[in-house]
């Protein structure tokens, strides 16, 4: 399940399992002046009918279409632009960080019919900056700057249920890639 968190003091994270949940989490918590961080699945979806690849935020564990944010329903997030009495409910300096695999990887999206990424689509629809990785992420006992592994294979299996636990990008230790930035187009 995706876990976008509105960074409001005292507010618990919002659990989201569908595009409708994401839209509600962003629009029903008042003005978000800090930032939004999403923790959850993202990456490529394959539509076997057209043998096409689609960039998605896989917010829900289920198999229903609306458990994913895709080109076909990302416009529901445009509700943030007017949710604050007609203006954007994400503050002017607010950005969205997607902690998920390859949300920033540009692919030929077979629903959009052009090259894009779900991070770019979310930025376009929210009119706010989005940060996202173009590589996979994995659970680690170390943070990105002190990581000793390149990917999940370098971590204990199973990963222990202890804290702190970090969700960090794949890449050589000491040279982990940061998130890419996306601005509205």
């Amino acid at each position: 399940m995706g876990q976008p968190t509105t960074e409001r003091m005292g507010q618990p994270p919002c659990r989201v399992s569908s595009v409708e949940n994401v839209a509600t989490a962003l629009t029903a918590n008042g003005l978000i002046g800090g930032g939004v961080a999403y923790f959850g699945h993202s990456g490529t979806y394959i539509d076997t009918t057209i043998n096409g690849r689609i960039s998605i935020l896989g917010v829900g564990n289920g198999n229903g279409g609306d458990t994913n944010v895709t080109f076909r329903n990302v416009s529901q997030l445009a509700a943030v632009q007017t949710a604050n009495n007609g203006s954007n409910i994400l503050g002017t300096t607010t950005s969205i960080l997607i902690n998920g695999c390859r949300a920033g990887l540009t692919i030929y999206d077979s629903y959009a019919l052009y090259e894009t990424s779900i991070a770019q689509m979310i930025s376009n629809n929210t009119k706010r900056g989005v940060y996202a990785y173009k590589v996979g992420l994995y659970m680690s006992l170390h943070n990105a700057s002190s990581a000793t592994s390149s990917n999940y294979l370098g971590e204990p299996n199973p990963i222990p249920y202890t804290l702190p636990l970090y969700y960090i990008p794949e890449g050589p230790p000491g040279n982990k890639p940061g998130p890419l930035s996306f601005t509205p187009q």
Partner: protein
């Protein structure tokens, strides 16, 4: 007199086509429900039988097609869907169903694993259109259409043809067991045993 005979014939052959008329009260009437019915048939194993294939192909698709010669069956996760619907305009819709591809079983009951993929999810999309519904009267063989006439209603149909039989892992286990028990070919029985072992590890 003619009218009486026609009514009797309709009852005798019990032959209203399986599509869902949009103006019939109490019937499922959305594009989503058509796809749900198709996938329910697949889950029950109907698409891997000739009669089930014919029924699904003729009931739900704009271009019904005969049972494929290739007897392989695609295996998907026990959990799929639910289908989600997106109306494109008043008489066309797109329906998506998510699932996990778990491989195939070929005609010799060999298990073929799925191709490796970096995708985190997958699914199938259907384009459906509203078409005029017909009342069809079939001959005793259940296939030959003797007569059809418009009902004045519309029904959703999936554009195109049924592509390949598929079913869920649990039903696939039964499928392999039944075919294994029907054959005396030791090689196929051996394939079936290996396939069953594999299928029992999947969900």
């Amino acid at each position: 007199m003619k009218r009486t005979i026609l009514v009797i014939a309709l009852f005798a052959f019990g032959a209203v086509d399986g599509g869902v008329a949009q103006c019939s009260t109490g019937s499922p009437s959305s594009a989503r429900e058509i796809v749900q019915q198709l996938w329910s048939m697949a889950t029950w194993g109907d698409l891997s039988s000739d009669s089930g294939w014919d029924k699904a192909s003729q009931s739900f698709f704009t271009k019904p097609n005969p049972v494929p010669r290739d007897k392989s069956v695609a295996i998907i996760s026990n959990e799929w869907g639910p289908p989600s619907e997106r109306m494109l305009d008043s008489d066309s819709a797109e329906v998506e169903v998510g699932f996990r591809d778990l491989g195939q079983i070929d005609s010799n009951l060999r298990y073929i694993p799925p191709k490796p993929t970096d995708a985190i999810k997958m699914g199938k999309s259907y384009h459906l259109i509203l078409v005029p519904a017909y009342l069809k009267m079939y001959a005793a063989d259940g296939k030959t259409v003797l007569q059809q006439k418009p009902t004045g209603c519309q029904q959703w149909e999936i554009q195109g043809s049924l592509d390949q039989p598929w079913t869920t892992v649990n039903t696939a286990i039964r499928y392999v067991l039944e075919r294994r028990n029907r054959t005396q070919d030791p090689k196929i029985r051996q394939n079936a045993e290996a396939t069953l072992s594999k299928l029992l590890t999947l969900h």
